[in-house]
């Protein structure tokens, strides 16, 4: 099932939650809507589900105008951040709900419903909980039941709103992998909303990065990480060192001193230089475009993180650099720095 969103606008009072958003989701994709809170990602998801209505724009599911139908007719599975399980029903009845409320003409008989629910509970590996109530389950179990309940209606598409947001870190990690393998098993077109970049990059086939009601970039996890389209994406995904620079005629200056790097076609004017922490090469004093004094070194795992105070320029700029463990760094040491890979964006905000 493909989903197409065209030119969607949604306002809450004067606040534009979605500002002319276009998006196309292909059959069988597992897409992540990634952005900070207030970026409009949940609103977009709710509009696709039919739980909210846009002020303008179109939503088509499989070429069919979805806005002509209410949520109950769209055949869309929705999983809520806080599970929204029916608290007065057992796990079994929760999963069976979507089958029991079908119009009489197409409703399955009791035996078929029971078999289907059992199958779904086995799919989420929680068959042994079928007679429990939601309040007796852990958060991770509740979310898996919520997913089974959404899948019971054989949805055309599956929408998940911060599905792991309310869970603790360890359970979240497990459920991520589990969701990915489940998706490759059932292959239903799925969109999930998250503010956790790691989650988006790890689970999704494609990532849609949103900010302030607009889509900043759409791409594979590798693309949004390695080739961020905008300053926002570079800053939001992965940790970056950001330095204010001036670009004029192809040369880049930091605090008046020219840097030994190419402008890569960046327009002249005040700009920002983005470098990933691990893309800053550390060399002996005097080498490289930048000089700095190591203030502090912390080592963990395969890297050491050095706090370096850049010399020159106005004021004191302190940056954090990730260096491999094989080059021993000392506090107080003067080092030369050279960005291996970097991007320059206009500093309009």
């Amino acid at each position: 099932m493909t989903i197409e969103v065209k030119n969607i606008v949604k306002k809450f009072g004067a606040f534009a939650a979605l500002d002319h958003v276009d998006l196309k989701v292909d059959q069988g994709e597992l897409l992540a809507l990634l952005g900070p809170s207030g970026s409009g990602k949940t609103t977009l998801l709710r509009i696709i589900a039919g739980l909210d209505w846009p002020d303008a724009g179109e939503v088509t599911i499989d070429g069919e105008n979805a806005l002509a139908r209410g949520a109950s007719e769209r055949h869309v599975g929705f999983v809520f951040q806080h599970y929204a399980l029916f608290r007065h029903m057992t796990v079994f009845e929760n999963v069976a709900f979507g089958l029991r409320v079908q119009p009489r003409a197409i409703r399955k008989d009791e035996a078929t419903i029971r078999a289907r629910v059992k199958e779904l509970l086995d799919l989420v590996q929680l068959g042994w909980l079928s007679s429990r109530y939601p309040s007796q389950l852990s958060g991770g179990q509740r979310q898996r039941i919520a997913l089974a309940r959404a899948l019971a209606i054989e949805p055309r598409i599956l929408l998940l709103d911060e599905p792991f947001g309310a869970l603790d870190a360890k359970v979240r990690k497990e459920l991520r992998q589990w969701l990915r393998s489940l998706h490759s098993e059932i292959h239903v077109t799925s969109i999930f909303v998250t503010h956790d970049q790691e989650e988006a990059l790890e689970v999704a086939n494609r990532v849609v990065v949103m900010d302030k009601g607009r889509i900043e970039q759409i791409g594979t996890p590798g693309e949004v990480y390695d080739q961020p389209a905008t300053a926002f994406v570079h800053g939001f995904i992965g940790e970056s060192i950001v330095l204010p620079v001036d670009v004029s005629g192809g040369s880049v200056r930091l605090g008046g001193r020219p840097l030994n790097i190419a402008a890569n076609g960046a327009a002249s004017g005040a700009s920002k230089l983005f470098v990933r922490r691990h893309d800053m090469q550390i060399g002996p004093a005097g080498s490289g475009s930048l000089q700095g004094a190591v203030r502090h070194v912390r080592s963990f795992g395969p890297i050491q993180r050095a706090e370096v105070a850049l010399s020159g320029g106005e004021g004191k700029t302190i940056i954090e650099i990730d260096a491999p463990r094989d080059r021993e760094l000392q506090a107080g040491e003067i080092v030369g720095l050279e960005p291996r890979r970097y991007r320059i964006f206009a500093a309009h905000d």
Binding site: L85, F86, F97, S135
Partner: protein, 320 residues
């Protein structure tokens, strides 16, 4: 139930309205409830007041309860049975008494049913949808609580009385509202208007709209969502509201007194008849009717505490 949890409980918010309702029905419930924590929890709490202080406080509470609650109740029943059980039953079998009981039950049935429907609809609208004028509607629902019942009755006299707003028109069409059952029912509905809505709004607000959204996305229609998801979630709160609404409907005196006209055997409800009989020195008959109202209060009290426990239990799983 600790003080903290009782504060967070929607049932407690209802209790804020309790005294208005309870005083009409019975002065028993609110006072007994306030006294309960002192007598109930003090002895087994190790970090409590010293013995003598504890004794004085408990004695004070018991004395207060006895004088203001138990004693009047005993007097009601003692006076009712002062001439023997035969006289008591005979007083209740009087046509006037039977008419009053019938009228009270009828008016309660009408007003509770209508306010049940209205209360659920209003609470549903207020908590599950966003619309302009919502705050105004909430304020309106509370209005009958803040207006003296006598004024509430007077409103209907001004509307439907002979010199009233609709008076001429009603007379021309020979429709009797004032000094007849419709007037009494209207006044009772007005006075008991907020109970069901007030019981449900905090509960439904706390429950939010997510379960309804989930039901809708699973294909449930509006009615299916209401009967399969919303109603089961609010049933204890709803019963609680209905119970208080009923107690007030049967016990209402002020508003009904203004619109009733006190026609014997026709427009006297039980509370009105109690006063009339008492003024006519028919103490046994008066207290016999009063004893029925007192029993209603006692039953209400018991059911209310059961419902409160159910409501508390209903909330508990959410705390984990």
């Amino acid at each position: 139930m600790s003080l903290q949890s009782s504060l967070a409980n929607p049932a407690t918010e209802l209790r804020a309205y309790g005294p208005t309702a309870d005083l009409t029905v019975s002065p028993l419930s609110s006072r007994r409830e306030r006294a309960r924590p002192e007598t109930g929890t003090a002895p087994d709490n190790p970090r409590t007041e010293p013995g003598p202080v504890r004794f004085i406080i408990i004695a004070l509470a018991i004395t207060f309860l006895s004088v203001f609650v138990v004693l009047p109740l005993v007097v009601v029943f003692a006076s009712a049975f002062s001439k023997g059980i035969g006289a008591y039953l005979a007083a209740l079998a009087e046509p006037e008494a039977l008419a009053a009981i019938r009228l009270t039950l009828l008016v309660a049935a009408i007003s509770v049913t209508l306010n049940l429907v209205f209360g659920v609809v209003a609470a549903w609208a207020i908590t599950k949808f966003d619309f302009s004028g919502k705050t105004f509607l909430i304020t309106l629902i509370d209005l009958p609580f803040s207006v003296s019942p006598v004024i509430s009755g007077l409103v209907f006299v001004l509307l439907f009385g002979a010199q009233g707003f609709f008076g001429t028109w009603l007379q021309a069409h020979d429709i009797h509202i004032l000094f007849a059952v419709p007037g009494i029912a209207l006044a009772t509905i007005f006075v008991t208007f907020p109970f069901v809505a007030r019981a449900l709004i905090p509960l439904m607000q706390e429950q939010g709209t997510q379960e309804e959204e989930a039901a809708t996305s699973l294909g449930a229609s509006g009615l299916q969502t209401f009967f399969r998801v919303t109603l089961p979630n609010i049933k204890w709160g709803l019963l609680y509201g209905v119970l208080l609404c009923n107690a007030r409907a049967m016990g209402e005196f002020g508003a009904v007194s203004v619109v009733s006209g006190h026609i014997r055997g026709e427009t006297n409800t039980m509370p009105l008849l109690v006063e009339i009989l008492y003024n006519e020195y028919q103490f046994v008959a008066s207290f016999a009717i009063a004893s029925l109202l007192a029993m209603l209060a006692l039953i209400t009290l018991v059911v209310k505490s059961v419902l409160e426990r159910r409501l508390d239990e209903g909330q508990e799983p959410r705390d984990h």
